[in-house]
Symmetry: C2
Subunit: 151 residues, 2 copies
């Protein structure tokens, strides 16, 4: 038995790909458009997992985009408490958070401890970023940065 | 950047470990009890991913169990639509579903097509089971089994 992926639903595929790929840095591995079911699936993997994902040995994230109905409406997805977050390990948490900030992403829980940060996807999915290896030394502006909202 | 885990919150740790380990067949890789924060984290991996998970190269599922408050109450976790499901690949989807059924787990979406099934965790997390490799031949009682509820 092998873990394949975690699926999240996205209200706006373009905004979500901008967030997950351009800002967070995940790579698109494959995509399926289903005309009959009126949905698009996009499989994403972190850069360090790309080859493994291509070899069909996940871990991956599956974005499900349900197409607009006949009135042009797309469902807005609410958040529940039973699902917590997706977690990624990064090479340098300050560099990752700076790049996200520069791209306009709120750092909801800044890496004050040089180790852990939280951001949110456009659909409110919490994403945990964890420093690879040991904690980094506390560093401004991060060490005195306040939280923003919830995550 | 590497994908580490997906975290889900569990209302009843014992019932959840019974579901995820005894019934679904995941393995406990590690556990952290946090007295100060009053929570327990349990990291689980599928059997085929066990060594990889132990080498700290996930993919894993993290269960978060927040301990009862001073009145003995534990939060009940609701389900949101932004999170979809966790997906696992299995060797034989009929054998997996039969074992789950024998253990009292509803097969919400039976594997009528010899390929895909859905079940739910005690906290309403949808879990997709996918047949490894090609679809199996349709087989009773699965091929004429009705759906149960939603997933």
């Amino acid at each position: 038995m092998e873990y394949l992926h975690t699926m999240v639903r996205v209200h706006d595929l373009e905004a979500s790909l901008d967030f997950y790929c351009n800002k967070l840095g995940l790579k698109e591995i494959s995509r399926k458009e289903n005309e009959k079911g009126k949905f698009t699936l996009v499989f994403l993997a972190a850069g360090g997992d790309e080859q493994m994902a291509k070899d069909t040995k996940a871990p991956m994230i599956e974005l499900t985009y349900n197409w607009p109905d006949s009135d042009g409406n797309v469902e807005e997805y609410d958040k529940g408490r039973n699902f917590g977050h997706l977690a990624y390990r990064v090479e340098n948490i300050y560099a990752t958070c700076q790049a996200l900030r520069d791209a306009g992403v709120d750092i909801n829980r800044p890496p004050r401890d040089g180790y852990m940060a939280f951001i949110k996807s456009p659909d409110g999915i919490s994403i945990e970023l964890l420093q690879k290896g040991d904690k980094l030394e506390p560093q401004e502006p991060w060490s005195s940065m306040e939280n923003i909202g919830s995550w």
